[in-house]
């Protein structure tokens, strides 16, 4: 049993599904998690994996690149089979129409019926939530906020991708595929779990207060009472015309009580406003960040966690596409993949990461003890 991972780069979707199914079969999974390139027909890959494991809960999503133990991949499907010795019980709900509506409460009512305990009373050490969400609806903040309102258990996950086409992304559950939807799963674990949240930034001594915001459109109109792009450029000591060239290296961060940033990455400049990949609330104070080394920082985070936990059963890595692009540019993707050689791992390059809220330029990693 325990956890097994597998991947396939076969072109035909049914062949790829068969290959990964054969690779994880030994785990006799009660839960299967799969991440697949958009080259695979979403409905077919989901149906094939569910057919291969009729009694398992099968969830997944489309990606912008995949991760499997020791490797970063593209145009592949990766899967993890999680045995009953790791997951005692699990339940999945599909939340539809996420762009305009928020049906998290209904999903939570179903979870409460399944597990026989209120979401707000669930043991935070043994229950964990997974969220996979259509990455092109801009709905992550509303979903994560409602989840956080209604439960104390950790929900971790990522926003589905489509190999940078930015046309349509899919989530998978119960042998079907869905757009404009999120898949929520609650796992009751036998040995518990931990979380790694790692981003490669340090804080500069520069603060920007969001004084005028268009929250619906993830747009900051003004920082510190000035046009957003002017204030951002001023903080970095560059000409406003150079502002957009600083985005990857200098995103902004809400600093949590442990001193770690929740990264908000700028996407583009519109007039003098800045559009972000996630929402910034008006009156929030953000720190200007400066990038550090993804490989070294991730290695340190993973090694520290492994040292504190001892042997772990597996990891699921929700890894920002912006980090993937930076690793590709620096020819470091292979080195990043190798950081996850010693533990059964799957993951994917996301259009956003979820942990407490919606974040950018981060890896949120679920670690099964």
């Amino acid at each position: 049993m325990s956890i097994k991972t597998a991947y396939s780069t076969k072109s035909a979707v049914k062949d790829a599904a068969a290959e990964v199914a054969a690779g994880i079969k030994e785990s006799r999974p009660s839960v299967v998690v799969l991440f697949s390139s958009s080259k695979y027909e979403p409905a077919v890959i989901s149906a094939e994996l569910q057919a291969a494991f009729k009694n398992a809960l099968v969830i997944g999503c489309s990606t912008a690149g995949e991760i499997v133990s020791g490797k970063m991949l593209k145009n592949s499907v990766v899967a993890m089979g999680i045995g009953a010795d790791v997951v005692e019980d699990a339940s999945v709900e599909v939340v539809n129409s996420i762009k305009a509506e928020n049906h998290v409460p209904e999903a939570f009512t179903s979870f409460e019926k399944h597990f026989g305990v209120k979401m707000v009373d669930m043991d935070t050490n043994n229950y964990v939530g997974l969220i996979l969400v259509d990455g092109l609806q801009g709905a992550e903040e509303g979903l994560m906020e409602k989840i956080g309102d209604l439960t104390n258990i950790t929900f971790i996950g990522g926003s589905a991708g489509d190999d940078l086409a930015f046309k349509q992304t899919f989530v998978y559950a119960n042998g079907k595929s869905f757009s404009n939807a999120a898949v929520l799963a609650v796992l009751k674990l036998k040995k518990g779990f931990d979380i790694i949240k790692t981003q490669s930034f340090c804080t500069m001594n520069k603060k920007l207060k969001a004084t005028k915001v268009d929250e619906r459109n993830r747009t900051v109109l003004e920082f510190n009472g000035k046009p957003a792009v002017a204030a951002y450029a001023e903080a970095l000591g560059v000409d406003p015309k150079e502002g957009k060239n600083q985005f990857m290296r200098h995103p902004l961060g809400l600093i949590a009580s442990d001193g770690q940033p929740f990264v908000r990455s700028p996407q583009q400049i519109k007039d003098n406003a800045m559009v972000f990949y996630c929402n910034i609330k008006e009156a929030s104070e953000l720190s200007v960040l400066e990038s550090t080394d993804i490989i070294n920082d991730t290695r340190k985070s993973v090694e520290e966690k492994m040292k504190s936990l001892g042997p772990v059963s597996g990891m699921i890595n929700f890894h920002c596409i912006l980090r993937t692009l930076e690793l590709d540019e620096k020819n470091q993707s292979a080195a990043y993949g190798k950081l996850f050689s010693s533990v059964p791992t799957i993951g994917f390059s996301t259009y956003g990461e979820e942990y407490v809220g919606h974040i950018n330029q981060t890896s949120t990693i679920l670690v099964f003890k």
Partner: protein, 66 residues
Amino acid sequence: MSGQVKSLIDKIISERSKGNPTIVNTTKTKLILKGIDPDEWNAASPDDSQVISKIKQIAQELGVTL
């Protein structure tokens, strides 16, 4: 008058976490993401009616009765 903002924030964190230190931290982060940084407020902070109103709304969202 002063200190009401901190007092309300502390009550939200205390009610929600019931003393669990991990939930204390995540609740603080949830508040930051909702636009209220708990560390910005202390017993001497003025009672800003707009902020108090926002915190009451957040408490309702989190299911905490103030």
